[in-house]
């Protein structure tokens, strides 16, 4: 069993898994989180053998990236984005998870450079993280403010809140659409 899963990890890192195998593999990773350690080890070995230096990411890093992706605000989507997201959804849950995982590894690959000193590597990471949190907070606050303003305007104008009760139960941002070619 271990041999089989280790082989799958190796194939995953070499991008040799087909779609069905990838789904199955990601499910196993989810069920057995300890496999992420093995995967990280394989990843490091692979890069060291190829003569590249590597930085090992925290095991929880992938989870954090996954959570960040999940928490990414998705309101105020353009029509094009909505169509694209609908297409993505049609791939199914695990396909989406696959995309997220692959994206996570792409991010790790981008971060990986020199494992000279852990402290020197971590410092810029923390700075970047703080910056992104501040930017994220600012964006969320701005969108929240837009949302509240739009909601206040609608409440003053529309009877929908009475006939559908929608304004108090459904975040408007989820159904607001920006467009230039509506009727």
């Amino acid at each position: 069993m271990n041999k089989e899963i280790n082989q799958k990890i190796s194939q995953f890192l070499d991008d040799e898994l087909d779609h069905a195998e990838l789904d199955d593999f990601l499910l196993k990773i989810k069920q057995q989180p300890q496999l992420k350690n093995t995967m990280n080890r394989y990843y490091a070995i692979s890069h060291l053998l190829s003569g590249k230096d590597v930085l090992i990411a925290d095991v929880g890093f992938l989870d954090k990236v996954g959570q960040e992706i999940e928490q990414e605000p998705y309101h105020f989507l353009s029509k094009r984005s909505i169509k694209r997201s609908i297409k993505l959804r049609s791939f199914g849950f695990w396909s989406k998870a696959s995309v997220a995982m692959v994206a996570s590894f792409a991010i790790i690959a981008a971060i990986v450079s020199q494992q000279i000193n852990v402290t020197t590597i971590q410092a810029p990471q923390i700075l970047v993280k703080n910056k992104s949190i501040k930017e994220g907070t600012a964006i969320k606050t701005a969108k929240s403010s837009q949302h509240e303003r739009f909601k206040a305007y609608l409440q003053a104008h529309s009877d929908d809140i009475y006939t559908h009760g929608s304004l108090s139960y459904q975040p408007l941002a989820r159904v607001v659409n920006f467009s230039s070619n509506n009727n």
Binding site: T141, K143, A156, S158, D159, T163, L172, F178, N183
Partner: protein
């Protein structure tokens, strides 16, 4: 419509959502009261009384009181004088159809321009009540439907009182301030705003900032457009926004952001917003 006592069940279909409510209209001389009671969640009671709408949500105990609602009826806003709208709408009679097992006359209301939506109204042949209303977009697709599934006209109905012992902390007031005189407006509409006339002007609190928001209501008899003006903010979303059948257009003019919003085509809100000028 204004002088009869009637009650029934009304289905509202809008923005892809269907909601069914019990509707009651009570009239006694010149006093009117309209009441909606939801049959499905979120459970709520809505009372239009002396120009004020109170909406009480049963579960959350939240209350919304709109002291100056834009609409005059939950079913359909009809112009006081149809003939005055001959320049912007064309009327034609359709066939007799039945709604809620009552004979009705269909009336088509087609705009002569692209600034408003076409409508079809089913009018009760005995009491002249609107039994069904459909609003279409410019492509002819149905945007909104309001239809009675049953209705009874009766001699008398009782007025109901809005609950007075409401928790103040749960009440959201809209348009609490009295309407201002139109002369107080320091901005003007360009050239009658494509057939929409001024209805009222007021300053309101949105709760988002300390600054008041100017609210100007326009109407063409069937459709209403609200124009909001407030000091511009850094996060203003400019251009067109759409929520179901409601379109809005926002632009920056000097230090203000102007938003026109209504159940009208994009072209209308855009032209109205662009037509605002400062005195």
């Amino acid at each position: 419509m204004k002088t009869l006592n009637y009650q029934g069940t009304v289905a509202f279909f809008k923005n892809g959502r269907l909601d069914t409510m019990k509707h009651t209209h009570v009239a006694d001389q010149k006093i009117e009261q309209e009441r909606l009671l939801s049959l499905n969640s979120p459970m709520r009671e809505v009372i239009r009384d002396a120009g004020t709408i109170s909406c009480i949500f049963n579960k959350s105990k939240k209350v919304i009181v709109n002291h100056r609602p834009v609409s005059r009826s939950f079913i359909v806003d009809l112009p006081i004088d149809f003939s005055a709208l001959n320049t912007i709408y064309r009327y034609s009679l359709g066939e007799e159809e039945f709604v809620a097992m009552r004979s009705s006359q269909t009336v088509f209301i087609k705009p002569v321009d692209q600034y408003r939506y076409p409508r079809k109204i089913w009018i009760d042949r005995e009491y002249f009540l609107p039994l069904k209303v459909e609003v279409y977009n410019l492509a002819g697709e149905t945007l909104e439907q309001v239809v009675y599934t049953d209705i009874q006209v009766v001699d008398t109905l009782k007025f109901v009182k809005v609950e007075k012992n409401l928790d103040d902390t749960n009440i959201t007031h809209i348009h609490l301030q009295e309407t201002d005189a139109l002369e107080k407006m320091d901005f003007i509409l360009d050239e009658q705003a494509i057939g929409f006339h001024l209805v009222f002007f007021t300053r309101m609190d949105t709760g988002i900032s300390d600054k008041k928001v100017d609210h100007l209501l326009l109407s063409d008899g069937f459709s209403s457009v609200s124009v909001y003006r407030e000091v511009k903010s850094d996060d203003t979303q400019l251009g067109v926004q759409t929520l179901g059948t409601v379109n809005s257009f926002t632009r920056i003019a000097e230090d203000y952001q102007i938003t026109a919003m209504g159940d009208v085509p994009v072209k209308a809100v855009e032209e109205i917003a662009q037509g605002i000028a400062f005195q």
